[in-house]
Amino acid sequence: MLRLIVSRIVGLVPLLLIVSILTFGMLHLVPGDVRERILGFEATPEQYEALGRQLGLDQPFLVQYGRWLGRALQGDLGTSYFNSQKVTDAVLGALPVTLSLTFGGMLVALAIGVPAGVWAGLNRGGRVDRIAMFMATVGQALPNFWIAMLLLIPFAIWWQLVPATGFTSPAESIGDWLRSILLACIALGTSASAALARQTRGAMIDVLQRDFIRTARAKGLSRTSITYKHALKNAAVPVITTIGFQVNALLSGALIVEQVFGLRGVGSLVIESVRTQNIPMVQGVVILGTLVIVSVNVLVDIAYGWVNPRVRAS
């Protein structure tokens, strides 16, 4: 198991290198002169020259990349073009909001999607199955920020059960934190639960047709034992893979859903940075976002090894 984890982490190095090259390369793909955007048009040639040296623009690409990577590895992803804010600080400051939504959304998705999928799979072709799959099909077509708006209108505006805007840190008050992210998590989670329910149903149907289920029935085991012991653990294998994809989708969704609830997370940060073409900030978000996704994928692989002894062994 330990070997599995280590080998997965080592395997990430080339991937992260490619991502870092692509991300660093962004700076050089921006049309026009970066210095102009920072200094404005009225700066003197000397100021241009000085800024160029300061940014290292007079060095060859590889040297620039090496320096940038070296600093990045020490946790320094550069400085905002427009104020002296450190990129790492800004992104890490915004991350709790976005991660709260992502993982809260995942919990909601699991709570809805997995039972719905299991139930539908057990009653394949029945009424429960048809209703669940109809809802999943519709759910997959709903933009999550629209669900968020539809939730916001009654719960936050008409009845004011939860605040319409603003984020409370869990360090301040767990209850207020939950209230501040609740609707967003539900909006994100319903969307993701659709895919999860479909996947779980498919996995369940597939597993129930396997030979070992026939063995379990020939052993005289109860329906409960067959479903929850023998089928579910095997059905979990493809479902866990889906969870990896869903975390990625939820993180993306969170960037947008944040806007509905006025939560100032990574979404607000990156939107503002794109509008002003504040490249170091966008780079920081991409790098840290990738780290989050990649760490989740390692966790998914570990969970995968837990349900699938074959993976664990190799």
Partner: protein, 679 residues
Amino acid sequence: MSRAATGVAAEDTNAQAPLTGFARTWRAFLQHRLAVIAAGYLLVLACVAIFGQALLVHDPLAVDLARTFEAPSAEHWLGTDHLGRSTLGRLVVATSVAMQAACLGVGIAIVLGAPLGLLSGYFGGWWDRIGMRLVEAIVALPALLVPIAILAILGPSLTNAMIALGIANSTAFFRLMRGAALEVREELYVDAARVSGSGNVRIVFRHVLPNVTGPLIVQTTLAFSYVLLAEAGLSFIGLGVQPPESSWGVMLATAQRYVQQQPFLAVPPGLMIMFTVLAFNLLGDGVRDALSRAGGVVRAASNPGRVPGAGATRASAAAGSVATATVGEQPASGPSVPQALLSVTGLEIRFRGARGGELAVVSDVSFDVPAGRTIGLVGESGCGKSVTAMSILGLLGDSGRIAAGSIRLAGQELVGLPESALNGIRGASIGMIFQEPMTSLNPAYTVGNQIAEVLVRHAGLGRAAAAARAVELLDHVGIPGARQRAACYPHEFSGGMAQRAMIAMAIACEPKLLIADEPTTALDVTIQEQVLDLLSGLQEQNGMSILLITHDLGVVADMCDEAVVMYAGNVVEQGRVDDVLLDPRHPYTAGLLASMPQNLPQNRPQSRPRHHDRSGRLTQIPGRVPPAWAWPAGCRFHPRCPYATEVCRQAVPQMVAADDRRIACVRAGEIDPVAGWRA
């Protein structure tokens, strides 16, 4: 699913008239009602996008500050926004923008991803490796950050957003085309095309592209869904379409800003996104379904057993040493027939067919399994042997049922018993082992756990006691290092070891009857012998009866006291094993025997040769067992029988008892069933 069922029906009707692949797919698609509706909706939407603005009464850009935030009314069907503009008008404009944008985004994704993927897969090498690494890196990024990063470079605008989404989505097309090209490249006919001197371009157009057209269409519909949703999202956060231009996302952003004043503003654009994305998804599902159906991947639902095995007749050659040598060693079953432990009488099993209605797959099957004896159920694949065995345990699944007859175990009627009572018998009084030991064990639990489970369930043992007993059982069936092996997972076992573990599980509660369904078919020849010896040894020790299902007459000769030969759901001959094998009276039995190697070595057990061919000649029964819905009238064996006459085509043979034998053949007695197979 009912869809699948109608699909089978469609396939069958289509099969009558040869249709081209496209026509078949098209017909299958038309049966998919939701997908057809979705396609219709999308056509209407396209018309609205193109001509809609000409039909509008209100100018979508006309500001009327006296009439802001109006609810839907006769004049403004969908109300007005914060500038008093008609929501309906803006929605029509937005539809046009969304459709153009989606076409642009998907177009870029295809133009960029598909050719690169095709080249990458077709030529392979370094470019392929670099391409794949890049794709992997892009996929590892948070999905929305790819277009966002690209927009950071290009600056926010609709066109740039579509370029960004196109690039982000091109990875899907890259992978699809690469996979298809790779696959086709490996296939024989492309090799053949190459040998015959076709150029690469020609190969791509003639062989690769036609094969990916279907998946490409499905992927395109998915891409439309993705681009529409992502465009709405990007426009919503202000990185896509820029106001005063209208798009569904921009309209939702407006609704968000004025949600206090007029919540209804959020409804129309959201519904438009939902219906449109839904339509693309349903269209994709429909096309995918139609393609897989037209591709002829149809499983015969009416044949609940295994798929009729190709060449099963010849496979029965497996065995080898029939009769002669071994039969003499069989304990002669005296005139006093022992009391039957299991008694099956007049069994009829029906399955619901794919097109509704029921089909009898087994009828009028009767046999006894005396205590302590081994009875062989023999026949080719698809004769109903396994279904008969499963019915004894009441495990016919949802679509099968016992329509008539009786199954008695030690006097107790099993047919009609409630599920809970049957569960008390399964694994306790009746144990069962299967053909594929590896897949019959649950890969997620240790072998010890799976054996202990039966003991906890039936023998009332605690977990610890059951675990200890499981180790004893593994030891008992000859697994070395049983204590360690009990903690292993099935994938760490060899096939033979896994079958031993299955046997340990089946005999854990000392059943009176062991049903063994092709227990050695999936195993190595040398292992087969060991497993059969283990079964006989266990039988000697605990006196259980064995119902052995096999297509292998050699196994029958080795193991069984009596043989019940089945063909196409009926018993055709039954009797003592030496009688049946040395003096077959039914042409089918004789045919099975004749399709085994001649000049069999006499010295079992040292050698049980497979595909052994000393005589240089092996007879085969022509054809194979037809599926249940195609069983002929009269004697079901007549199309394959060298003795068939007009009588056989009409009269259904009745089971006739003579001496200790029972034979169902109209011409029994008047023919020499062996001679015909020599010709």
